[in-house]
Amino acid sequence: MVLFYITLLLVCQLAGEVVARLAGLPVPGPVVGMVILFLGLMVKGGVPADLDRVGTALLSNLSLLFVPAGVGVMVHLGVIAEEWLPISAALIAGTLVTIAVTAWVMAALGRRP
C-alpha cells in the first residue's frame, strides 16, 4: 500500500502539471497537485495510515530536499558578491517587516469575538 500512495502523490503531481498547463494557471504543477490531494482528503474525510507514512517520510526530511538546489549558489557567487547589499537588505528587512505586518493584522482581527 505504501507503493500505492507514492504513486498517488506522483499522479497528483502529474495531474497538477496537466491542469496548470491546460488552464494556463500561473501556479507550479506540484502546487496544483497539492490542492488536488487536499480536495481528495476532504472528500475522503481522513488521511489513510499509509499515505500518512509516505507523507511523513518525505516531509520529515523536507530540508534535505533543498540541498541540491542550494548548492547551485556556487554558480551564482558572482551575482551575490556584486549585489550583496540589496540582497541582504531585502532578506533581513523584508522578512522582519512581513512578520510584523502579518502578526499585527492577525492579532487585530483575532481580537474580535
Binding site: Q13, M34, V67, M106
Partner: protein
C-alpha cells in the same frame, strides 16, 4: 595520489553515485553537528550542507552540473513533497475554519508584504532584474518558490538559497519583532512566522508552543499557494512590458 586512485576518482566523479552520496552524507553530518551544538538556528543544517558541498565541489574542481546529475534524485522528491504538504494542511482544517477571516486577511497582507518589501527594497538599492525576480517568492517553501522564480524569470537555484536565508532570518529574529510590536497571541505569532519564513520558521514556532507551531505550519502551506498565485500576477502587473 597514485595513478590508480586518480583513475578511480575520474571514474567516480563522472557517475551520479558520487553527487547523490555526497549530498546524503553532508546533510547527515550537518544535522549531527547542529544537534550536538544545541540546535541553534544560525547553524541551520541546510546552510551547513550547502557550504560543505559547495566547498567540496570547488576543491575537487567538480562542476555543479556534474554534481547535479547525481543530486537530482533528491531534488526530484521536492515535487511529491509539495503534494504531500496537503496532509498537514488538511489536519489544520478545523483551526482554519474557526479563524477563517483573520487567516485570509493576514495571509493576503503577509504574502503581498513579503514579495513587495523584498522586491521594493532590492529595487531601491539597485538590484538587477534576475535578482529581483529571484527574491520575490523568498518567503515560501523552496519547491514552490523555485517554481515561481522559474516562471517569472528569476534564477531558481539562487531563489533556493535566498529562501533558506529568509527562513533562518525569520527563525532567529522573529520573536524579537513580535516582542517589539507586542503581539502575544500564539495564533498570530505562529501564523506570522510561517508566512514570512516557511518551514525553517515553523521549526522555531514549534518551540514557542503547540498552537504557534500549528498555525505556522498552516501559514506555510497557505502562503505557498497564495504566493504561487499572487506573485506571478503582481509581477505581470508591476513589470508590464
Amino acid at each position: 595520489m597514485s595513478a590508480d586512485l586518480e583513475s578511480i576518482w575520474v571514474y567516480l566523479a563522472a557517475t551520479p553515485l558520487l553527487g547523490l552520496t555526497a549530498t546524503l552524507v553532508a546533510y547527515q553530518l550537518a544535522q549531527a553537528l547542529w544537534r550536538r551544538l544545541g540546535m541553534t538556528p544560525l547553524l541551520n543544517p541546510v546552510l551547513l550542507s550547502i557550504l560543505a558541498l559547495a566547498g567540496f565541489l570547488t576543491v575537487t574542481g567538480t562542476d555543479y552540473r556534474t554534481y547535479f546529475d547525481g543530486a537530482q534524485f533528491v531534488h526530484f522528491l521536492l515535487g511529491p513533497a509539495t503534494v504531500a504538504l496537503a496532509i498537514p494542511l488538511y489536519r489544520q482544517v478545523g483551526a482554519l475554519r474557526r479563524s477563517a477571516l483573520a487567516v485570509v486577511v493576514a495571509l493576503v497582507a503577509g504574502s503581498v508584504t513579503a514579495a513587495v518589501s523584498a522586491v521594493g527594497i532590492a529595487w531601491a538599492l539597485g538590484a538587477s532584474r534576475g535578482v529581483l525576480m529571484s527574491l520575490a517568492p523568498k518567503s515560501v517553501t523552496t519547491p514552490i518558490a523555485m517554481g515561481v522564480a522559474e516562471q517569472i524569470g528569476g534564477l531558481p537555484s539562487l531563489t533556493a538559497v535566498l529562501v533558506i536565508l529568509t527562513g533562518i532570518t525569520g527563525a532567529v529574529a522573529g520573536t524579537w519583532v513580535l516582542g517589539l510590536i507586542r503581539v502575544r497571541d500564539p495564533q498570530a505569532q505562529g501564523f506570522a512566522i510561517g508566512v514570512a519564513s516557511h518551514g525553517i520558521g515553523t521549526a522555531r514556532a514549534l518551540q514557542l508552543g503547540e498552537v504557534a507551531g500549528a498555525f505556522s505550519g498552516l501559514a506555510m502551506g497557505l502562503n505557498g499557494v497564495a504566493t504561487a498565485i499572487l506573485v506571478p500576477l503582481l509581477v505581470r502587473w508591476a513589470f508590464q512590458p
